[in-house]
C-alpha cells in the first residue's frame, strides 16, 4: 500500500534536486524577524490552498466523482469573507465563508447523490453560477481589506512558520483522522469501488456522497480564505481559476485513481507540493512564460509514466532481456 507513495515522492525529490543544482540559493533558509524564510517555505505556503482543495478532491475522486466547481467556491468564500469583514466580527465573516462553502458542497451533493446527475455536469453548474455569484457579491470589483488579523490566515507566521501551513496540516490531519479512525475511509473506498455491493452491505452511498461533497466544498472555502487573506483582497474573477485542474493533478500524481476506490491522502499532499515546486521552479528559472505550458505537460506525462506499472514493466523486461542476451 505504501509503495504507491514512492513515485510522487521520487518526483518531488527530483524537482528539488534539480533546484539544488540549477537555482542558486533555493535551499537557503534564514531566520528574519523570528520566522523562517526561504524558497522552501514559500513553496509550502503557496501550496497550502492547492493542498487543502486537493484533499477534499481526493475524497470526491475516491467515490469516483469529480468536483470542478472548487475554483468558483473558492472565489465565493473569499468574496463572502472580505465583504463581511468590518460589517460583522471577523470570526463571523470567516464562519459565514465556511458555511457558504459547505452549502455549495451540499448543493453539489444533492444534485449528484439524490438527483443522479453526473458529477462532472452537476458541478459544472456551480462552476458557472458560482463565479457569477462571487462577482455579484463583489460587484465585479476587487474587494480589499486591511484587517491585519484576517491577513494572518494567509500570510501570518506562527512558531516561525507560515500560518497557512498549519491550516493545511490541520485539514490533512482531520481528514486523515476521519479516514483512519472512523469508518469513512472504508465506506468511501467501498462505495467508490462497487456501489451496489456496498449498498447490500448496509452502507448508504448517498449519505457518503453528500458528506464527501460537503467536505470538498468546505475545503474549497478554506482555500478561499487562504488565497484572499494572502493578498488581502477578493478577486471574484480570477481567484481559483483553473485550480480544479491542479488539484485533480495533485490527487492523481499522489496515486489515487480517478476510477475511484483506494485513496491516498499523503500522496495527495505530496502531489500538491510537487506541482507547486514545479511552478515556483519555472518562475525562478526564468522560463519564458509562453513555455510554461509545454514544460508542465511534459513533466506531467513523465510523472504519470513513472507511476504506470506497465511502463516500468517495459523497462524491467528490457533490462532482463539485456542481461540474458
Amino acid at each position: 500500500m505504501h509503495t504507491k507513495i514512492i513515485w510522487p515522492l521520487t518526483a518531488l525529490a527530483a524537482i528539488l534536486l534539480f533546484n539544488l543544482f540549477f537555482v542558486p540559493g533555493f535551499f537557503h533558509m534564514e531566520i528574519k524577524d523570528g520566522h523562517l524564510f526561504g524558497s522552501l517555505i514559500d513553496i509550502l505556503n503557496r501550496a497550502a490552498p492547492i493542498m487543502v482543495i486537493a484533499i477534499g478532491m481526493t475524497l470526491v475522486i475516491a467515490k469516483e466523482g469529480i468536483d470542478i466547481s472548487v475554483g468558483s467556491v473558492l472565489a465565493i468564500a473569499g468574496a463572502v469573507a472580505i465583504s463581511l469583514i468590518g460589517v460583522v466580527p471577523l470570526w463571523m465573516a470567516i464562519g459565514a465563508a465556511l458555511i457558504v462553502g459547505a452549502l455549495c458542497g451540499l448543493w453539489n451533493g444533492v444534485l449528484i447523490a439524490y438527483l443522479g446527475i453526473q458529477p462532472m455536469v452537476g458541478t459544472l453548474i456551480l462552476m458557472t453560477v458560482g463565479r457569477g455569484i462571487a462577482q455579484l457579491i463583489t460587484e465585479g470589483k476587487v474587494l480589499t481589506t486591511d484587517s491585519k488579523s484576517y491577513g494572518f490566515i494567509g500570510k501570518g507566521f506562527f512558531l516561525g512558520l507560515p500560518f497557512s501551513i498549519f491550516i493545511a496540516a490541520f485539514v490533512f490531519l482531520l481528514v486523515l483522522y476521519l479516514k483512519k479512525r472512523t469508518a469513512l475511509g472504508l465506506f468511501l473506498e467501498a462505495t467508490g469501488t462497487n456501489k451496489v455491493s456496498s449498498e447490500y452491505a448496509g452502507v448508504e452511498p448517498r449519505k457518503i456522497y453528500l458528506f464527501v461533497y460537503i467536505v470538498c466544498g468546505l475545503c474549497a472555502a478554506i482555500a478561499g480564505l487562504l488565497v484572499s487573506s494572502n493578498i488581502s483582497s477578493a478577486d471574484a474573477n480570477n481567484a481559483g481559476l483553473w485550480i480544479e485542474l491542479d488539484a485533480i493533478l495533485a490527487v492523481v500524481i499522489g496515486g489515487t485513481s480517478m476510477r475511484g476506490g483506494r485513496f491516498f491522502l499523503a500522496g495527495t499532499v505530496i502531489g500538491a507540493l510537487f506541482i507547486q515546486s514545479l511552478t515556483t521552479t519555472i518562475y525562478s528559472m526564468g522560463v519564458p512564460p509562453e513555455r510554461i505550458m509545454v514544460v508542465k505537460a511534459i513533466v506531467v506525462i513523465i510523472v504519470s509514466l513513472m507511476q504506470s506499472d506497465r511502463f516500468r514493466q517495459m523497462f524491467q523486461q528490457k533490462s532482463k532481456k539485456a542481461v540474458i542476451g
Binding site: 537555482v23 514559500d42 465585479g140 476587487v142 480570477n238 511552478t279 519564458p288 512564460p289
Partner: protein
Amino acid sequence: GSNNGGSGGASSSPANTGTNTESAAPASSPAADKKIVLGFSQIGAESGWRDAETQSIKDTFGNDPQFELKFSDAQQKQENQIKAIRTFISQKVDAIALAPVVESGWETVLEEAKAANIPVFLLDRTVKVSDESLYTSFIGSDFILEGQNAAKTMIDQLGADKQVNIVELQGTVGASAANDRQKGFQEIVDANPNYKIIKSQSGDFTRAKGKEVMEAFLKSDGKNIQAVYAHNDDMALGAIQAIEEYGLKPGTDIFVVSVDGIKAAFEAIRDGKLNVTVECNPLLGPQLKQAILDYQAGQTLEKWIKSDEDVYFGQKAIDALPNRLY
C-alpha cells in the same frame, strides 16, 4: 447584398412584420419617438477596469431616454461576442459597440453588420481587418504608447545613467494589451543600455499571480532588482505585497510602475508604495455617445478617437485621487 429584413422566408416569422424602418440609410435621423438602440458586446468582467468601462456605458446610455441599451457579456469568449453581434443584427439595433476580446477574427461578422447597415464602434481595443470600412470608429487608448510612457517615466524618475535591473510582470500571454505594453516598454528600455529587463513572467493580470511571481523573482534575484514593471495595477499591487513581505520597501527600494490607473493604484502612490501608474481610461461612455450622435447626424468620424489619458505619479496622483471613479 440583400438587406436582412427582405422577402422570402423571413416574412414567415412573426417577428419581422412591421416596425422595420431602418433598412434605409442609417444616416436618416430616427423618428422622434423612436429610441436609438445600441447593442454593446462586452468581453466580460475580468477586472475592475473592465467593470468601470461597463458601468460607464451603462450610466451613459441607461440614463438617457434617447437611447436603449442592449448589453451582452461574452465571458471572455470571442465566439460569444460574435454570437452577440449576430443577435444584435437580427434584433436590428441602430448601432453596435464592441470591446473585442482579441484583434483578429472579426471580418465575417463585421461584414454581416455592414450588410445590415449597422455602424460598429470599437472600444478600448482595435481589430485587424483587411477592410477598414468594416467598423466606423475605434475609441480607445494606445497600448504601445502606454508601454512607452511607463518606460519613459521610469527613466525620467530614476535617472538615465543609473544601472537599473527591471523585472516585468506580463499580462495574460498572448493578450494584445500584454503584447503591446511589453513592446512599447521594451522599445524605450532597449534604447538605454543602463536599463535591463532581467526577468519576465506572466502574472495573468491578477493580484495573486502577480504576488506569487514576484516572490519567486525576489527569491532568485533579490537585491538585484531595482524596478518592477507590471502590465496592470492589480499585478503591481500583488508585487508590492511580495516586496513588503520580502523585507524591502516598495516605491523606495524597488521602483514600481504599472498601467491602468485604478483607484487602488492611486492610493498606493499616496502611500508611497507605487511610483507611477499610466492611465488607461475605461470611461468611454460619453465619447461613445457623442460618436453615435455624430454618426446619426451624418458627420464623418475620425477613425481613431483617442481616449483622454495621462500618466500619474507623486503629488499629481494624490491630487487626482479624490476624483477617481473606479
